[in-house]
Subunit: 213 residues, 2 copies
């Protein structure tokens, strides 16, 4: 089907090109047109550069290690955060994935450890509590030395479910001093009240904090 206003590139002059574009367009958010642009860009580069590109992808996939403690991506058995000597080992922040760790690290506001779940509970996607790193979190806490668990999961139904499940599992440990907290939700800094959703705005009023001048 061809429309007058949008022509979709589909006649590739080469099987090799077709295959490369098909592979490139498997990447999230990359359509056939961007994929073609990317592939033709690679085609113009020296062969050794394209090989370096390809090797970086397979090298990562085949060489990647996950930290035995927090399940973050790592080059070593225990990641640089978990083995860091200046980290506060009594606080563990629970996040969905590796990006979240990087995002929080980049704030420069957190000095504790992490626990990467590798997903959140989602019955629709067939992800149950056993499919993500909840048991390892509970056993980590049960070994002692942790005073606070900060829940930093998304504010979705799945995130809330996962939060609740983790909370219940942790309460079973009868670890009297354990604090379970969650990150503050509210109006973003620089965010305009006019464009904020009512749920967030409502929550930001309920959870208001003392003004300090």
């Amino acid at each position: 089907m061809q429309s007058l206003f949008k022509v979709v590139i589909q006649n590739y002059p080469s099987q090799l090109l077709d295959r490369a574009v098909a592979q490139m367009s498997t990447l999230p958010g990359v359509g056939r047109k961007s994929a073609l642009r990317h592939v033709l860009y690679l085609l113009k580069q020296p062969a050794e550069d394209v090989r370096a590109f390809a090797d970086a992808m397979t090298g990562l996939r085949e060489g990647v290690v996950y930290c035995k403690e927090c399940h973050n991506i790592s080059d070593t058995e225990i990641c640089s955060i978990c083995s860091g000597t200046r980290r506060d080992r009594r606080v563990v922040c629970v996040v969905e994935n590796v990006q979240d760790v990087m995002q929080i690290e980049n704030t420069g506001q957190y000095n504790g450890l992490y626990h990467v779940l590798g997903g959140i509970i989602s019955p629709i996607d067939g992800v149950g509590p056993r499919d993500i790193e909840i048991d390892s979190l509970v056993s980590r806490v049960s070994r002692g030395g942790i005073d606070e668990i900060i829940l930093a999961l998304p504010t979705t139904m799945e995130g809330d479910t996962t939060n609740f499940y983790i909370y219940r599992q942790l309460m079973r440990l009868e670890h009297a001093d354990l604090r379970v907290t969650q990150i503050a939700r509210g109006v973003a800094i620089g965010g305009d009240l006019e464009y904020i959703d009512e749920l967030t705005l409502g929550r930001s009023i309920i959870n208001r904090t003392e003004f300090t001048a």
Copy 2:
């Protein structure tokens, strides 16, 4: 430097990840954040899928062939368009690159052959007439059998320069019957006059065509 409103992910927990993201972000229009998303997506795929992805890129770069006749990407020495038996071999459309061939092919309105220059004359970028496939075009025309050259280069100063250079070279051949044409420029179909630039609108009035009901 960290800004309050935009946090750039820069602390990669793994050298392998860092390298993969660096490579991914060399693609045109892919920033560090998209690159990270692409790479983490690949990381979640089976190892053989990532290998297939990588192989498709190196396979294209190392196995690609350019048609000896028109310089389009091809799997064979002479591409499927140049070797097509139902093509009008008397008309050759001159384009800047491989995408342009695909775009024109997708219109379904053209049945002639192509000539891919592989660039346009651009003194700023150090691209001269000898760096692109102009000589091969001239020698192709001089061998005879071509009645019309359609110039379909971009309407930029570089495109105009290249058009003019090609025109002058072809005129030297003293090929009496050769027509040199260029694709129609005007208001796009579905385009609103209100938002069109004055140059295009002016040109579309000068180059008006007979109305056929």
